[in-house]
């Protein structure tokens, strides 16, 4: 037992090494330019972290199943394009749907985004649960399909334009620029969805089953967990998050083109990994995901703020992900 307590102190240190390193990076940024620590910057960081954070809340469940989702970014692009096309200003001459002459209720495109993303994600889930494909492969294929659909959709504008969809309705844009009680709406959305995900993960049978399937599929099956249903459910919940995130992202960037959403899956997955969601499955916390996304965004923003060469930023972010996973894996390596 003595060795037990000793190694558990080591294990605890190991648990926090990553956060320590990341905070050191942030401190370096602050030391170089103390202005980084302004309220404006902090709000900006949280705002930027929010849409990707919502994506991460979805993909995290799939990673807990020992899977992954490469289709997140392209699916967001497709869904945001649909939302934007429905919510262009009715006064804008070359709008996607000239037939829409009166502003439509926001709830309509919002629900369309959700149905689209839940359906698409359920398709990925079907590939994993029923066809027993690795989700890496399923989503590698489906992200291309999503991208193709998105391009066709955007290039089919009645006006003949193939440009990004812009001139969006003010009510829509205001969602992203507005705030409630002084806090931007986007941050509210991220916070509420994080709380919802926390409850789903920790307080429902579905959440427990998700961890059971991810932690030990065979033991889950023996324990009476319906593995197929659980996998499908996790993908559909992820789809719900993607749908909401895509709607918000369209409002945030105010112009949706074929490049919208590109590589978002990488930021979402990186946020999860930095937050301690293990690719081996069965391990992860919502709090970790939220912190992981915020830290990642803070570093992204910080590097940008310091004016670091944008290519060098890629290198730093890439190294970060590798370090994150290397440390994550150390926790679970079985010592022989």
């Amino acid at each position: 037992m003595k060795t037990g307590t000793k190694s558990s102190i080591g294990a605890k240190l190991l648990n926090y090494t990553l956060y320590i390193i990341l905070f050191l990076i942030l401190i370096v940024i602050v030391v170089i330019n103390p202005k980084f620590l302004s309220l404006d910057n902090l709000i900006n960081i949280l705002k930027q972290a929010s849409t990707k954070g919502i994506l991460a809340l979805g993909v995290a469940g799939i990673i807990v199943l020992a899977g992954t989702d490469l289709s997140v970014g392209r699916l967001l692009g497709l869904s945001a394009a649909v939302a934007a096309s429905l919510l262009q200003k009715v006064t804008f001459a070359s709008r996607y749907y000239p037939g829409i002459t009166k502003p439509i209720p926001l709830i309509v495109p919002f629900l369309i985004c959700i149905v689209l993303c839940v359906g698409f994600s359920a398709f990925n889930g079907f590939g994993m649960a029923k066809l027993h494909m690795h989700p890496f492969i399923v989503t590698l294929g489906s992200q291309l399909i999503a991208y193709g659909l998105c391009c066709i959709y955007i290039q089919n504008q009645p006006s003949g334009s193939t440009q990004a969809l812009s001139s969006l309705d003010d009510r829509y844009v205001n969602i992203a620029t507005g705030s409630i009680l002084g806090i931007p709406t986007l941050i509210w959305c991220f916070a509420l969805l994080a709380i919802l995900t926390y409850i789903v993960w920790n307080k429902t049978r579905f959440g427990k089953n998700m961890f059971a399937v991810g932690g030990n599929t065979e033991a889950a099956e023996v324990s009476g967990v319906n593995v197929t249903k659980t996998i499908l459910g996790v993908f559909m919940y992820a789809g719900l998050m993607y749908g909401i995130a895509s709607f918000l992202e369209g409002a945030r960037i105010q112009s949706v083109g074929t490049a919208t959403g590109i590589n978002y899956e990488l930021d979402a997955i990186a946020g999860c990994v930095i937050g301690g969601v293990s690719f081996n499955g069965g391990i992860g916390t919502v709090v970790g995901v939220v912190i992981g996304c915020i830290i990642l965004q803070a570093i992204n923003y910080g590097l940008y703020f310091l004016g670091v060469n944008s290519y060098l930023q890629y290198i730093i972010r890439g190294a970060l992900i590798i370090v994150a996973v290397a440390i994550d894996v150390r926790k679970y390596v079985v010592k022989k």
Binding site: G4, I199, K203, T204, R205, K208, N209, F211, A212, G215, N216, E218, A219, A220, E221, V222, S223, G224, V225, N226, S278, G282, I283, Y332
Partner: protein, 511 residues
């Protein structure tokens, strides 16, 4: 070590003496020994878990022995790993097939020692060499075909060919005939005799008495990790060998039995599984308040029988009549609803969720009971967990401890507790005391008997005969997928003479 100074070769090709090996909680080998002569076939016998495979793995460098000496041709050796052993003239065919299924025969045969030409693999030479090895052994198989396309018995023969191709001085065969057809067994025996005449020493592990009598020159019997005897095979009868294998002192203590079997709870009629390996045409009745043991050798399909009843393996034919009604148990969810519970054999692989805490591991099969609308009641979850920790005296620092940090015995208690929470009527326990220390075993026995006393029916697979004899009311003996018989306490075992021999004989009936 000194060379043979007097020029005479040592009497034994291989001398293993006083070998000891412990695993956490278990002493697997306790002064084990084996002496193998040149050009002879030496049978190594013993029950499941007697330490035969462990002893051979210590020779082969898979395990490192704790103490003792191994001499090969008079020189002390200690192989660090299988490659080391192979390089020094020891080859082994394992009980399980270790093959790369999607590669071809010759690549499997020369894996780890491909013939090279200018740094690249010399495929032509590899083909010729393979052809030669297979021709020598009269094995008619195309070296270029993918190994996974062959039957298990053909693959077994290829493993044997691979071992032979090392030109080893010592060849260890660990239950090589378990999947072979009669013709192939004859073929194998021809190969073995041929190798013997070339002065190779063969260690032959098998449960099949008739084979041992036919092929071996000497036989060594092991029991509970200890060496029991070495005899010339022609001087001992099958019965004497069995007696040496099972005749142990009953040192293990069992709690007093106080359960009384009642009415029939479950009738299993002609149950056969769908996908191999599986059980075939098994019929029996399980009573309330009864502990029904399931005995058998490795490969008797005892686990498969339980899994088929529980619905995690598909049923081909047969009926389950439970509480007077036909039921199907098509999957584990349905079985659990019907009041079944199953504790699996491989606790780590299919029992625990290692990186989850005690709460999660205790309550995962019973979550429906804690739902208030869609939300789980944390109070009930924690309450039930504490109830299990208290009533089964699980030793854990807290409810939030990860289960992987508990001892095997305490993990097993948590899993039993997981099922007790679902209030089952039928408990299917597969090797419930495997890898658990003696004290915890006693507690598990008490638990099992208490459950029977409460009127539940317990069906328990075990490879430890004293345990079955100690706590079961009846013992169902499986042999090669079929039921060889059901023994009754007080008639066939339980203070009856030659009880273990009776079980062993039935277990070997269809092999």
């Amino acid at each position: 070590m000194e060379e043979n100074t007097e020029g005479k070769t040592p009497e034994y090709l291989l001398e293993m003496s006083d070998i000891e090996k412990s695993f956490p909680g278990v002493k697997a080998l306790d002064h084990a020994q084996l002496k193998l002569k040149r050009g002879s076939i030496h049978a190594l016998m013993g029950e499941n878990g007697a330490g035969k495979s462990t002893l051979m793995k210590c020779l082969f460098g898979i395990y490192i022995k704790d103490s003792g000496t191994i001499k090969m041709e008079g020189k002390e050796v200690a192989f660090k790993n299988p490659k080391d052993a192979l390089d020094n003239g020891v080859a082994m065919v394992h009980q399980e097939l270790n093959q790369v299924l999607h590669r071809n025969v010759m690549e499997n045969l020369w894996l780890g020692r491909f013939p090279l030409k200018a740094g690249l693999i010399d495929t032509a030479k590899m083909y010729e060499d393979t052809k030669k090895v297979l021709d020598d052994l009269e094995i008619n198989i195309d070296p270029r075909k993918e190994i996974g396309t062959f039957s298990v018995s053909q693959r077994q023969m290829l493993e044997i060919a691979k071992a032979v191709s090392y030109n080893a001085k010592i060849l260890v065969l660990d239950e090589p005939t378990s999947s072979l057809t009669t013709d192939e067994v004859e073929h194998l025996f021809r190969i073995m005799r041929k190798l013997c005449s070339a002065n190779v020493g063969i260690v032959y592990i098998s449960h099949k008495m008739d084979e041992i009598k036919r092929i071996s020159d000497e036989v060594t019997v092991m029991r509970d990790g200890q060496w029991i005897a070495t005899e010339d095979t022609k001087d001992v009868t099958t019965d004497e060998i069995i007696k040496m294998m099972v005749n142990r002192e009953m040192t293990q203590q069992f709690p007093e039995k106080h359960n009384t079997p009642g009415e029939v709870l479950l009738s299993v009629k002609n149950l056969s599984g769908k996908y191999q390996p599986t059980c075939k045409d098994v019929s029996f009745e399980l009573h309330r308040g009864e502990v029904l043991g399931v005995a058998g050798l490795v490969g008797a399909r005892r686990t498969e029988l339980l899994s088929t009843i529980f619905g995690i393996k598909a049923t081909e034919s047969g009926e389950l009549v439970y509480k007077g009604k036909d039921i199907r148990n098509k999957d584990s969810g349905e079985s659990i609803k019907n009041g079944f519970a199953m504790v699996t054999e491989e606790r780590r692989a299919t029992g625990i969720f290692p990186y989850a805490n005690i709460i999660f591991n205790t309550t995962i099969a019973n979550l429906r009971a804690y739902e208030k609308g869609p939300i789980l009641s944390g109070r009930k979850v924690v309450g039930d967990t504490q109830k299990i920790i208290d009533s089964l005296s699980v030793k854990t620092p807290s409810q939030k401890t990860l289960i992987k940090n508990l001892s095997g015995g305490n993990q097993q208690k948590v899993i039993l507790g997981r099922w007790l929470l679902t209030s089952p009527d039928v408990l299917l326990l597969d090797e419930p005391t495997r890898g658990i220390d003696v004290g915890a075993k006693y507690e598990i026995y008490e638990l099992i008997l208490n459950m029977a006393k409460e009127g539940k029916a317990v069906m328990m697979v075990s490879s430890e005969m004293p345990e079955l004899i100690g706590i079961c009311d009846r013992i169902l003996v499986m042999s090669n997928g079929r039921m060889a018989g059901i023994l009754t306490r007080g008639v066939d075992f339980g203070g009856v003479e030659n009880e273990q021999e009776t079980i062993m004989r039935l277990a070997a009936q269809y092999v």
